[in-house]
Symmetry: C2
Subunit: 199 residues, 2 copies
DNA sequence: ACAGCCATGTAACTTGTTACATGATTTT
DNA sequence: AAAATCATGTAACAAGTTACATGGCTGT
């Protein structure tokens, strides 16, 4: 996510070749997110297709340098100027899962929440451990600290939500939230064609 | 996200046709997430391709019912049993953006954080407003409450992170975190082929 | 010599998502 | 009669991601 824009923003600092872009991206995000190299070339091709970057020539070392275009520069400005647009209600996989699961008859929603909580807590603990070493003075350390903060905040939020969810579930008898398939079948139906039940 | 698994889990409750699946999904997630109908048929085709669902016959109304397979049932159990797997460090678009932006020379990182904060606060406010009406007794109301809780928690976490980030940035002179393109060029380079600089 | 990294690239595939075509039925 | 909704489907695309092929260079 945002790989495309990030690469373009880095290209805005000067021409780069593929491998270099990967290194720059990882340096600027504290080494937290590894990029498969193939994705770089992919993304560059797509940026070129969209007129945001242009493939340059090789230098003496054989490196293929890519350059940003005017349209690309404009796109970078636009990206930086406008806030990240989340589609109003960002779909979170865990939230979807638990909401659906809580309405499924015969599913132990409480146990599920407990299991997810355990996994989330473990993730948070691992994060906190790796965020422990204090090296937030250099620019790279700073980038890393920012990113780890984000992950920690997200993990904490997840835990809080899971606890809140457990509370809510505890206030209802087990399975009382289950929804059977609605049998509000077609008020306005489709035509009654040849029913091929025994096809 | 998790649309695929959710539809399969719903199918596990009994055969459904496309439109019905959409209604079920939206009912079970509190109407927070609208699904484009096309996506349902898409997903069903893919589930069939993967052997998790099978396209059945039409009934008298012309509805095309889909059924889950044994493999599909196993997949649902697997989904419910195992916690959501986030790839260790989940990539958050906002975090990527700010980390990259903070290391870009000439970018007003603090202003950027402020702008993002404003947008996030507005989103949180809108969420809190729509989460205000208390109808958490019915199963549907419950589903809606769960989902809105998740969105609220995520939005709060985002705000907290943005504030923490602003603090961190405030402790450094503006632009002191900027990274120029690394000029650690090839220690181990590629071959020196014909340099086609004037191609 | 050999392992491993640097480097470029291609091909395939995933899930999510939208736009569109088609047509029937229901409501206004 | 027109508009809205129900219903099925197709086609295309986006972004992310991976596996693989190829080859040169570096360090042991």
């Amino acid at each position: 996510m945002a790989v495309r824009q990030s690469l373009l923003a880095i290209l805005d600092r000067g021409p780069c070749y593929g491998y270099q872009l990967r290194a720059e991206f990882e340096r600027r995000t504290g080494g937290t997110w590894a990029l498969n190299v193939g994705q770089i070339y992919n993304t560059l091709d797509r940026l070129e297709r969209d007129g945001f970057a242009a493939k340059g020539d090789q230098d003496e070392h054989g490196h293929v340098y890519w350059e940003i275009t005017d349209a690309g520069r404009a796109e970078v400005r636009r990206w930086l100027r406008s806030p990240v647009q989340r589609p109003a209600a960002a779909r979170d996989e865990l939230a979807v899962k638990l909401a659906v699961a809580a309405t499924l008859p015969g599913v132990d929603a409480r146990g599920l929440v407990a299991a997810e909580r355990e996994a989330s807590a473990a993730r948070l603990e691992a994060l906190t451990r790796s965020a422990a070493d204090p090296e937030a003075s250099s620019a790279q350390g700073m980038a890393r600290a920012l990113v780890l903060d984000a992950l920690v905040c997200a993990a904490e939020a997840e835990l809080r939500w899971l606890d809140r969810t457990a509370d809510r579930l505890a206030q209802h008898p087990a399975d009382s939230l289950a929804l059977e398939l609605s049998d509000e079948r077609p008020k306005r139906g489709r035509p009654v064609r040849a029913a091929a039940t025994a096809a």
